[in-house]
């Protein structure tokens, strides 16, 4: 069995308003940071997972992302995968 470290990024779809991102953008500007054009908040999920090769692990992660980690009505996801 191979072990992989997976980092999943879940983001609100561009069409979905992100009020938390807007509030953080506003605070960033108050802090004095200049030039911020856009700020959106997502989630990062770290998973360590075992499987027989990368293909099998990707299938498992796809299922997890599609059914649990992200709600694809409002969110997109992508992930990176590193063999340990």
């Amino acid at each position: 069995m191979d072990q992989f470290a997976v980092k999943v990024f879940v983001r609100l779809r561009p069409s979905v308003l992100d009020p938390a991102g807007e509030a953080t953008k506003s605070a960033s500007i108050k802090l004095g940071a200049e030039g911020i054009k856009s700020l959106r908040i997502g989630k990062m999920i770290e998973v360590k997972i075992e499987g027989n090769g990368e293909k099998e692990v990707r299938e498992k992660i796809d299922l997890l992302c599609d059914r649990l980690f992200a709600n694809t009505v409002i969110e997109d996801y992508e992930y990176s995968l590193e063999k340990l």
Binding site: L12, S15, V16, L17, P19, A20, A23, L68, F69, N71, V73, I74
Partner: protein
């Protein structure tokens, strides 16, 4: 309806389960039974309420974890059989996460947790959830949520409108919901999800009775 029993689902973090039960039993004389979320035996209930609260602490997304409970897995057959399911607030979020209703509920536009009474237009009589107020067309119910902004894509919205699936719309949209949507039904009409709390409007002494009919309609066939 002597033996008619409404199952009130209890998740870890539900906090309106007892309110729903009190409103049904105390105000409407309808028998209730609490259903722990790990139960998948729905054989002795005739309708189900998914109450408000913060199931599983709203971890990941509101309703996202509750969706995988044995009870929600068993709900598919219950809904297909035509029995009635009412999802209130967190219950509405669970119904969208689990695909019984389209769309999703996301953080309020102004980021506030809004606790208020709101005026609502009754848009559709599908399922008979609001039938008795046809002559009135507007009701007032309490809302209490941080993540109640209904969101769906334009194709879904068109489908909701074309098929008369929008049950309630806010008169003064408090949270930024698409098309002012406060509640929707499935196509058959036996599943209703709404952000406002009908169980908190069942007695004049606590500010109104506009929620009574919706709870009472759980016993409709």
């Amino acid at each position: 309806m002597d033996n008619f029993t409404v199952g009130v689902v209890v998740f870890p973090g539900s906090n309106c389960d007892r309110d729903v039960s009190w409103a049904l039993e105390g105000c409407l004389d309808i028998r209730t039974k609490y259903l722990w979320h790990e139960s998948s035996d729905l054989s002795d209930v005739d309708a189900i309420v998914l109450p408000g609260g913060f199931s599983y602490g709203d971890y990941l997304r509101c309703g996202a974890i509750a969706r995988f409970s044995p009870l929600i897995n068993a709900l598919d057959e219950f809904v297909k059989s035509g029995k009635r399911v009412l999802g209130i607030c967190n219950g509405f979020q669970i119904l969208t996460e689990s695909g019984f209703l389209p769309g999703a509920l996301v953080a309020n536009k102004n980021l506030n947790f809004i606790c208020d009474d709101v005026e609502l237009d009754i848009v559709s009589s599908k399922g008979g959830w609001f039938n008795n107020v046809d002559e009135k067309q507007t009701i007032k119910l309490p809302i209490a949520h941080g993540e109640g902004r209904y969101h769906c894509d334009s194709d879904t919205l068109k489908k909701l409108v074309d098929n008369e699936l929008i049950a309630l719309r806010y008169k003064n949209n408090p949270n930024g919901s698409s098309f002012d949507i406060a509640g929707i039904t499935n196509e058959k009409g036996n599943v209703l999800g709404l952000m406002p709390h009908p169980e908190r409007a069942c007695d004049e002494i606590i500010g109104g009775t506009d929620g009574l009919f919706t709870l009472k309609s759980l016993i409709l066939k």
